[in-house]
Each structure stands twice: as structure tokens, then as C-alpha cells.
Amino acid sequence: MSLTTINEKQDEVIEEFDLFDDQLDKTQYIIDLGKKLPPMPEQYREDENLIRGCQSKVWLHSEMQGDRVRFEADSEPTAQISKGLVSLLIRILSGEEPQAVANAELYFIDKIGLSNLVTSRRAGGLASMIQQMKQFATQHSDQKTNA
């Protein structure tokens, strides 16, 4: 059920990025999306929430709200691309069931031409962001199975 929602949201993102031909315009759109990310409460900006393997500082807070995973994130003010990237992930994965997040195949990254940002370390550690989100989700889907 929840997997469908994740894919619907991915398709929505792909459609939005289809409006742009130029990579620079896509990047501009990512930056603009980052600016709209709701502010993260100050207490979550702690070292243990830092995304590892990132040239810039990005904090990710993960929690369970009922049976759903909730993600919040922020970056150091200047790191706008990282913030935009994490905002895309939050849009797609936050509010979903942990099992669905853990199993999500994030095909939108390739479709909107961001795969180079996943494989290289240069742009905001997108791969690390995904890894940390999935790790949290996996832990909580395990707990659910064990209960």
C-alpha cells in the first residue's frame, strides 16, 4: 500500500523535473525546493544526526510517529544543494511505513539525472542520506516483525 504511495510521489517528482532540459535548471529547482524545507527544531542539530560522508553539514532526524517513519533535516545555511536533495528524499519517504521505506527502490534519482550525485561523494552525500534513512526504517520494521 505504502510502496505505491512512495512510487506515486517519485513519479510526481519525475514529472516536475521533466519540465527542465538543462542540468543547471534542474539544480536551480533543487535549490528552490531546499529553501521550502520546513525548519528543523534546534535540538535535532546534534553531531549524532550528522550525515556521514558529506562535504557539507546535513543533519537528519528520524523518528516513529505511530506506525509511520518521520524524517526532518537541515543543512548548514550555505549548503543549498544538499538541503534540496534531502528535501526531495523527505518528500518521498517521510510519513510512510518503515517496511516500505526500507524496501523502496528510488528510481527517481536516475530518472531526473541525479545518479552522478549518488555514486560520487561530491554532492551532499545523497547516497549516505538514503542509507541513513533506510537504516532507521529497517531497524523499525525489524522491531515490528519481532514484536
Binding site: T27, Q55, S56, T78, A79, Q80, I81, R122, G124
Partner: protein
């Protein structure tokens, strides 16, 4: 250090020797400004690699057949070229390594472990690459030596008065970088070496960045060791050289054990080969060693002073052009610099700058440049760095400036 600012090289012709430069990245012609990380390779170097593998691939030194003989002479010819390149007194003083890092580790692990002990002091500088910090820290941990650091001033120059204060009768080793990879600063290494020798310390010069920009004369410098990487001077990756004074190399124990470094092996005792083979265990990087000679020839043909002159023109042009961008601050404004410009832009993360420049076909490096202590000294997490080689042009610098205006427009 004289600064020649007259450009006599035919840069367009030189560019045609570098196949990699002729391509579009993200729909725009590539501008390659990441030369301090690695330079591109001319066709002569690329062809030498192919020629070796197609024509005379063989293991060297012990073979008695034709191919082995041919490979061995080509291999040893590079050693002679490097001797000339560095003006070393003896060809045996040139040891092939995997690169500068490997050379520094060799010295720390052999000279260091044999001759340094508890309480002995090692001096490095605050602008060292991690590869000239960590090997000494490892040695200090093992042997109980003390690491001391020459500070850097706000312009990016070493503070020599502080260096003098660090020198004591316990100073046994000084290891400093000739040219800073992050700032471009050319350090007064001759003075540093002389002052170290005055207290009886040995000196290693990290020549990774200097070797492609400056004339190197290890005898005039009187350094005890000099380490370089071929890939930063238009040569192949995974190949470098360590120069060491013969009398010092002779008393150093070997680094790695294996083939070629031995004289005779029995289960009771092994005796070691003479210089330089004592330090070259195992089948070396034959193809890359051979092709390095073509890289050295490339530079010799152009003339190092002509290369430097062209690069100085680019450095001055870039410094002026970048300074005119509002909010941009150059990090590293030493009087003596090579063609490296590190900078930050107010309100923009260096990582974002790098990504957006790349999307415009411009390759720069962003981050801490493996000099985290130096970045901390300047209160930065990193910079954007543009570094120029002989094939770069003013037009490309104009592209960088336009690219940065685009970055600002998108970000601010």
C-alpha cells in the same frame, strides 16, 4: 625566485597533444582546472604505455631475453632522466616509488624507525598535506618522538621566526612541503634546510606540487630526501620517485622485503641488494616508470622556465579576475606562489560551487584538499581550488569567472 611573465609557448599546439582536453562535459567544452590533483597526459606518455605493452612487455633486470633487456634499459633510462630532472649527484639516489606518499612513508618507516627514538623531535608545517603528517604521527606513536608544527600566517606564508624557535638540539628531522597544494605558497625551503642542518637534523622535501612548476636542484637545496609523484607532472599515476643522499640511503634498512631487493637469500640470513634496488622489492610499475620519461621529455622540450612563465601569466590573470567578483576571497596570498588559486565565496558552500561549475563543464576541486589542519587554521571547512597547467588559457579563466557569476546568481 624570479617571476617571468612573458609567454612564448604555442598553447594551442600544446593543447592538441592532450587528447582528453578535446571533449564536452555537460554540453560545454571541458575546462580542466584540477591540475594540482593530477595533470592530464600528453599523447607521448599515453603512446609510451601502449608501445611497452604491445612491443616489449617483460619483467626487468633478471631476464636474459631480448624483451627483458629492452624493458630493463627503458626502465633504467627513466632513472637517469629523473637524476637529471632533480640534478642528483648519483643515479643510485633515485628510488622508484608509487608516489610522494609512498616516498614519505618509506623514509619514516626506515630512516625514522632506525634513527629516531624517544623524545626526538620532528618538525613539519601547518600547511602539510595529510601524507606528510600521518606517517610522522605514526612514527611518533611507535617511537615516542615529538611532532612540532611551524605555524602559517594569514597570507599563507610559514612564520620562519617560529620555525627557528622550534629548532632545538633534539630536532632530528624536518619534513616540509615545497609548494602548498591548497594555497600555492612556495616555501623558502633552502633556508629551512640550512637551519635544520645547523642543528644536525635531516630534511625531507615534499615536492609533489613543486616538481611541475619549479626547477628542482637537490644538490643546490642540499635536502636529504625529496619525494615526488609522476602523475602531477604530466606522467602516469601510481609512479613516483624518492631522492635520498647516497650515504644516508646506504645506512637505512630496507622498506619492504621481496624479490629484487636481495643479494642472497638463505633461510638463515638474507643479505640485501645495493642501491637503489634495496628499496625496490617486487616487480615494479614498469610501464608507468618507462612512460614517465616521456613526461619529463615533454617538460624539458617546452622548458620549465617557459612553462612557469605561462603559468604565472595565468595566475596573475586569474587572481585579478577572481578578485573582481564581489564576495569572493582568495585564501593564500603569499608573495611567492605557483598557479593555484583557492577561494571562498560569501554565503555559498564550496561543494555547491563545485557542482554548478561542473555542470558548466568546469573541473575544479572543492573541500579540504587533504589539509584539514590548514583549513582549520583559516577557520574554513574547505575552499574551491582552481589550479593551472601549461595547457590552460586565459579564455578558460574567463569561463571560470562567468561560471562563478552563474553560481552566485543561482545561490544568492
Amino acid at each position: 625566485m624570479q617571476t617571468i611573465t612573458q609567454d612564448i609557448l604555442d598553447i594551442e599546439a600544446i593543447r592538441r597533444e592532450f587528447p582528453v582536453l578535446d571533449q564536452n562535459i555537460n554540453g560545454r567544452p571541458l575546462v580542466y582546472f584540477d591540475n594540482a590533483a593530477t595533470t592530464q597526459k600528453p599523447s607521448s606518455v599515453i603512446n609510451a604505455l601502449t608501445r611497452y605493452y604491445e612491443g616489449y612487455n617483460a619483467n626487468i633486470h633478471r631476464g636474459i631475453h631480448h624483451l627483458a633487456e629492452k624493458a630493463t634499459s627503458a626502465f633504467e633510462a627513466t632513472r637517469k632522466s629523473l637524476q637529471r630532472f632533480l640534478n642528483a649527484a648519483h643515479v643510485e639516489e633515485i628510488i622508484f616509488t608509487y608516489g610522494t606518499t609512498d616516498g614519505i612513508n618509506l623514509v619514516a618507516q626506515t630512516y625514522g624507525r632506525r634513527f629516531l627514538g624517544e623524545g626526538d623531535e620532528i618538525i613539519i608545517s601547518a600547511m602539510e598535506h595529510h601524507s606528510n603528517i600521518v606517517p610522522w604521527q605514526m612514527l611518533c606513536e611507535e617511537k615516542g618522538c615529538v611532532l612540532k608544527v611551524i605555524p602559517v600566517d594569514d597570507r599563507g606564508d610559514l612564520i620562519l621566526e617560529e620555525y627557528e624557535k622550534l629548532l632545538t638540539e633534539r630536532t632530528r628531522f624536518v619534513s616540509v612541503v615545497y609548494v602548498s597544494n591548497a594555497l600555492g605558497t612556495i616555501n623558502p625551503v633552502k633556508t629551512i634546510i640550512d637551519k635544520a642542518h645547523a642543528v644536525g637534523a635531516k630534511v625531507l622535501i615534499d615536492g609533489a606540487q613543486a616538481s611541475s612548476h619549479l626547477d628542482i636542484d637537490v644538490q643546490a637545496l642540499d635536502c636529504d630526501f625529496f619525494a615526488l609523484s609522476a602523475h602531477k607532472l604530466y606522467g602516469p599515476t601510481g609512479m613516483g620517485a624518492l631522492y635520498g643522499k647516497q650515504d644516508i640511503l646506504n645506512v637505512m634498512p630496507p622498506f619492504r622485503g621481496g624479490g629484487e631487493m636481495i643479494k642472497e637469500v638463505t633461510f638463515e640470513k638474507t643479505t640485501y641488494n645495493d642501491l637503489p634496488y634495496k628499496f625496490e622489492a617486487g616487480t615494479p610499475n614498469i610501464a608507468d616508470v618507462i612512460a614517465t620519461q616521456n613526461a619529463l621529455e615533454f617538460m624539458e622540450t617546452l622548458g620549465k622556465e617557459n612553462i612557469a612563465a605561462h603559468e604565472n601569466v595565468l595566475l596573475d590573470y586569474a587572481t585579478d579576475a577572481l578578485t573582481s567578483i564581489e564576495g569572493l576571497r582568495i585564501i593564500g596570498t603569499a608573495k611567492e606562489k605557483v598557479s593555484v588559486v583557492s577561494f571562498v565565496i560569501d554565503g555559498i558552500h564550496h561543494q555547491d560551487t563545485g557542482v554548478i561549475l561542473d555542470q558548466q563543464g568546469i573541473a575544479v576541486r572543492t573541500g579540504h584538499h587533504c589539509t584539514q589542519p590548514l583549513m582549520r587554521r583559516f577557520g574554513l571547512s574547505g575552499t574551491t581550488r582552481a589550479s593551472f597547467a601549461v595547457y590552460n588559457t586565459k579564455d578558460e579563466i574567463d569561463r571560470l569567472v562567468q561560471g562563478l557569476h552563474r553560481v552566485k546568481k543561482m545561490m544568492l
